[in-house]
Subunit: 273 residues, 3 copies
């Protein structure tokens, strides 16, 4: 078995043993799935986005996940405040810049967060991460624009990892994770994952769940969260993919709740780059 897959399996067992509290400031579209994915992988979710408590909740959590899917003026302030407090307390921060590139508000917010908050992991699709890298992008709403596939995910991931000093996970047909030194690509997953809203948001929250039990190894945490969703998508497709996207959606959560180190070892398709 690949060493990264082995490390991910061991970290999953830590998540299930420690049940880390994961603070999510996230969008209202996919928040229920995010909470259930966090529970399914073995962690404990808490959602709190008022400026009056965001920092306090981050301070008692094992990881903070900031997702700007339905950002607004009120929650942007809370994201920044919670991120800064997490930094002060040594709580790892995962950032999902949903739709970066799609509006001035999203662009400004994404850049503000990466400049004011020290990240452990940045996770997005190639359009979003390319925007943060300062590359030319053609975002179409919140889904990755096919046109951007021209950007080389490995190069983009390495470059952003270096400039931000964090692990970067770029998800797509092939997923790329890099901390600048180590880089891995994952070939798990299923195209039907793009027909269910929130699989990206859930992935970021799974990365946060692993980060909450990572003991500083955020490269493995990022790979673990991304791989968990990839495997869940594959397994869900086998069980329910042909029934329809509603049943497939439910089967994703089922698969996450049943995921274990053995399955990871047997099914992970990881290439060290």
């Amino acid at each position: 078995m690949n060493q990264t897959a082995k490390n991910i399996g061991a970290m999953l067992e830590q998540v299930r043993a420690n049940v880390p509290l994961i603070h999510n400031i996230t969008n209202y579209v996919t928040v229920n799935d995010v909470a259930n994915a966090v529970l399914a992988i073995g962690a404990s979710p808490i959602m709190a986005d008022d400026i009056g408590e965001a920092g306090d909740i981050s301070a008692i959590s094992s990881a903070l996940v900031i997702n700007m899917g339905t950002l607004n003026e009120r929650t942007i302030a809370s994201m920044i405040a919670a991120g800064k407090r997490a930094n002060e307390c040594g709580v790892p921060v995962v950032f999902d810049p949903v739709g970066a590139g799609a509006s001035a508000l999203r662009n400004d917010t994404a850049l503000k967060i990466v400049s004011e908050v020290k990240l452990a992991v940045l996770r997005g699709n190639l359009s979003e991460i390319s925007f943060i890298a300062g590359l030319d992008v053609a975002t179409k709403g919140v889904d990755s624009a096919a046109a951007d596939e021209k950007n080389d995910a490995v190069a983009v991931a390495k470059s952003v990892a270096d400039s931000l000093g964090c692990t970067v996970a770029i998800t797509g047909a092939i997923d790329t994770i890099s901390d600048g030194k180590q880089t891995v690509q994952l070939r798990n997953g299923h195209p039907q994952l793009s027909k269910v809203t929130g699989t990206g948001c859930m992935t970021s929250a799974l990365v946060g769940s692993f980060a909450g039990a990572a003991n500083g190894d955020f490269f493995t945490a990022a790979a673990g969260g991304v791989l968990s969703m990839g495997l869940a998508g594959e397994i869900a497709y086998e069980k329910a993919g042909s029934i329809g996207t509603g049943s497939f959606h439910i089967a994703i959560i089922d698969a996450l709740s049943n995921l274990d180190a053995k399955t990871i070892g047997e099914r992970a398709k990881l290439d060290e780059k």
Copy 2:
């Protein structure tokens, strides 16, 4: 096959081919189902309700769906701003006046939106549309009041279509769609649809999904969105209705994801009036 059913089938194929971006300013109760319904029918959802980006997102979208289910002062301003920007850009606007008649805030907001934003389609239950028509209504919360069934849906739909210059869809046991010139009634659907929250919201978003590929034919778009939910309800009931309302809910999304022109041709119960 009925000509309207044929047109709807062809438009569904356009939705699946074009994958139009559908901007939804909607309520937080049913937003996940709305996004998944839009994906299931073949379009791409984006939710954005901050005044700082609502107009920008509408401008890059193929349709805007405004749903006032959990309206608040902040989002009402965004609804109006996005609606006006959509009008400027020629992006069709679908409006779902959830609970119009139930509170002064809802009444004022519904009337403000229909007076300030030019609609392509107005979709609601008979209570809600009757309120907009200025008729006497007895709304009970956000569900259609049985008492209002006395109002004649065909007459109400035609009258409001004429006064607002848009297509009006009144959904209920029988659905009525009119643009003032053409009127059709649909007899698909299932009573159990009223036991799952959000079937009305999903219907409006499906209308928006069709409108995003309608090339100006909003009568067909409205009928297409309403018929899609009716057929999905029927098929879902056949598959899972007897299991319980949770399974029925999931089966609705399954059926939407499997819907095609052939099924529409075979099952649509449409009467031109």
Copy 3:
């Protein structure tokens, strides 16, 4: 059959016959499940949290459920305003102090609500209710802290019921309901309920649904809501527990929609204390 179980069965039939309108000011994480649970048990949900209509909606409802899961400055004001209006109109108020003990904002809000709004039922886990009782607690996020199991639920429930003059429901492995005079413990439910987000929120909304048809008997309403979720959890586990937490989640709603007085009579494990 136990008299409380008999009373609950009869009240469930009243809920299904009357279809009471239940106003929920609740969190955006679990709101869809809350609405579907209310529909499944036979009542009609409405969500409205703007200060401009919260009181008006409470005034036309049969019960108000306040859940502070994702409270913010805007919605806290609406909770208080709606609660006061409900009190004026004789509409019963159910309060779920989600996460009380976890942040200063939650603590202040919980205490403000219990001091300014007269409750019919207070429902929470032992950590949350112990906080309101002024006891020493160790809340971990929004889930009950195991450490707090040292507090005696029966004593805490009775004491808070006496001091607030309402029915108190403390849910956990064993559920305790007391109005200060009568106390009952329920031994239904399943541990897997803690792996799905929102089972507590749904329980509070079910209590609200029963309260909307309770004719003043809020002890039975509280026991009915709690028992409904316990039985739904048991039945859902039998049907789908081994598949995964996604399928189990859906099966909970299925079971609620099928629940009847006969099942309650056969399965309820109630001990009068």
